[in-house]
């Protein structure tokens, strides 16, 4: 495995499976009376968050603490960053403090690549702009494997704002590596012009894709995309690309519904769908901690789980 986790595209099949298998071991830990391992005792993990993302930050924090690492939360708001300190200077500061790993969330695509040039420790991408969010894809794959038993040959339909989605990018690359079949569904305006170069199918029609889907993953759609003319109205978007109970009924019985959160209930996903038995949304959050533990464990602890 590489020193950093910046892009899901960098993971080999063996790397990805090793993370998922390790996460499986670590998930069992959560069932113990004291869900904590001493593995990363004395190691320092910095959560460097330039965007508000309480759920991802807490997930990484819980993961690091369950491995007994020291955790420093560095939020861009109320820090020297707000005074205009550059990413490079922040990186050099963290380096001087002896960070063994830096978990970075940033609104600029590629910020983790830049950071990796300036710190000696491991860099974990917790979401960069519209580029990637590899631990989200890993926890999604983990969730699919737990629910459906395998990933090989699985038909995964990802629906929504693909153009601006780091979750979609990471899922496309990771699921390709894990031999699942991905179909992207979106209005043409919310797909990259060059989406044809990606290892997946593309469709503009959600209903026609559902009967063959083992997994349907709904992405959050931002209201401001409407003012940028990506689609005419939220209602039209919801009618054409939202998952309501009528559409959900088209899915095979075993199929699951995923969402990386936070949801816009009533826009891309209807409330009854979000709360249905098919929905894995709450599990995804729980699985996120196990997967992030596995990532930190493998990057910092070395070796596969005992």
């Amino acid at each position: 495995m590489n020193r950093h986790l910046i892009s899901a595209a960098d993971l080999s099949f063996a790397d990805a499976v090793s993370i998922l298998d390790t996460a499986e071991e670590l998930a069992r830990l959560a069932e113990r009376p004291i869900p904590k391992l001493p593995t990363l005792r004395g190691r320092t993990v910095v959560n460097l968050f330039y965007e508000d993302s309480t759920r991802t930050r807490i997930s990484f924090e819980a993961a690091a603490k369950r491995l007994s690492a020291d955790v420093i939360n560095f939020s861009a708001k109320g820090s020297s960053v707000a005074k205009g300190e550059s990413l490079k200077d922040t990186a050099l500061t963290l380096q001087a403090m002896g960070a063994d790993a830096v978990v970075i969330r940033h609104n600029a695509s590629g910020a983790p690549h830049r950071l990796a040039e300036w710190v000696k420790g491991s860099v974990v991408n917790a979401g960069d702009g519209t580029h990637e969010h590899p631990t989200q894809a890993l926890l999604d794959a983990f969730t699919m494997r737990r629910r459906l038993g395998h990933l090989d040959g699985l038909n995964v339909t990802i629906v929504g704002d693909i153009l601006h989605s780091r979750v979609a990018r990471s899922n496309v690359w990771l699921l390709k590596t894990l031999n699942a079949n991905v179909t992207l569904v979106a209005p043409p305006t919310l797909l990259p012009v060059a989406v044809g170069t990606w290892p997946c199918r593309v469709s503009y029609d959600l209903s026609s894709e559902l009967k063959d889907s083992d997994v349907v993953m709904m992405l959050r759609v931002q209201h401001e995309r409407m003012s940028e003319a990506y689609f005419p109205s939220v209602r039209e978007y919801s009618r054409r690309y939202g998952l309501d109970s009528d559409r959900m009924a088209l899915l095979p019985d075993h199929a699951i519904v995923m969402h990386p959160g936070p949801m816009n209930r009533g826009v891309e996903i209807a409330a009854d769908v979000a709360d249905s038995k098919r929905s894995t949304i709450v599990e995804q959050v729980a699985n996120g901690v196990a997967v992030r533990m596995a990532v930190l464990y493998l990057l910092l602890g070395g070796g596969a789980a005992q």
């Binding site: 595209a9 600029a108 695509s109 910020a111 060059a194 989406v195």
Partner: protein, 426 residues
Amino acid sequence: MSNWTIKGARVLGGEQADLYVTDGRFAPAAGPGSRVIDAGGLIALPGLVDLHAHLREPGREDAETVESGTAAAALGGYTVVHAMANTDPVADTAGVVEQVWRLGREAGRCDVQPVGAVTAGLKGTQLAELGAMAESAARVRIFSDDGQCVSDATLMRRALEYVKAFDGVIAQHAQEPRLTMGAQLNEGEMSARLGLAGWPAVAEEAIIARDCLLAAHVGAALHICHVSSAGSVEIIRWAKSKGWRVTAEVTPHHLLLTDELAAGYDPVYKVNPPLRTKRDVEALREALADGTIDCVATDHAPHPAEAKETEWSIAAFGMTGLETALRVVHEAMVTTGLLDWAQVADRMAVRPAAIGRLSGSHGRPLTAGELASLVLYDPAPVTAVDPSAHASRSRNTPFAGMKLPGQVIATFLRGTPTVLEGRLCR
């Protein structure tokens, strides 16, 4: 002023011959007290002419000054550079263009020909005093809002028409602003994968097509800055086939580099217009070879280190180019057999001088009686580009560490050496 005998230079890459410089001009025989330069194996070309450089003075002297920029130009073999107008204050009045012109004269290493802004403050709403700049001591003939597109069609039409009165030319930075809001990288496979906002080639091509039609309609001269896409080449080829007064330039970096270099998000590769694909590079090379694109212009755009040591999306656009241009053209065009050295002289000196209305003093033949502005270039060595050795104040070269052929050995401006043995004189 010394007299010189340049022995055994290959004039325009041809047979070896001796050149004699007396009182600033080429002479048929050695002048009195003539100093001898052994130029065996060196190629002699007219002093290079750059239509497009950002010298940053006044306003951003931390990035470049006229002094440092002209030193870089001389080391690159240039004897005249056009200084773009996007300084602070903007070069949109006779006063500012005369200041820049005078700074160039004082530096003395290479002529500085200011480009005047098309619109006041580069704001795109009102014409700058184009006539006053044309009549100033700087004798401005090229007008450009470079960095900004003159996107208002009526304003562009008026500018094209207006400068006909003094044989001016409008140099357009072709970038449809609404199609490039927040754009970061050529829109295609790389931008899709990297999650960087796409910069479609059509944003350039749409403006070029519009402006060619406008230039034809009013019978005016249009120059297209830094052409970057295969589609732009097709439109320019079509406009030229109609006999319209359209000229175009391409940068060295667009002749050699592609958007795949952005994979590591190093903003040294961030430039406006963006690096595009291999197919575009091939089309640009072909167009420069067949004359559809008239000339090479550097778009030398120096920036201080902190403007590039950042996240990609907040980094400055631009690359330095004056000190590497000839070597890059050698690699992209000569090594590939697309141009011979006489054609390099045409694309880097003769034609840009004509577009800048400087044909009387630059881009001249290396024959007796002509002003002795020339460059001696050794095509043999292949060395890695070392930005720390550059005279530019800035280090943002995308060619750092890249092995490129050739070395500028000497540059003469009207008989006076500005560079000898590869080093600045003075």
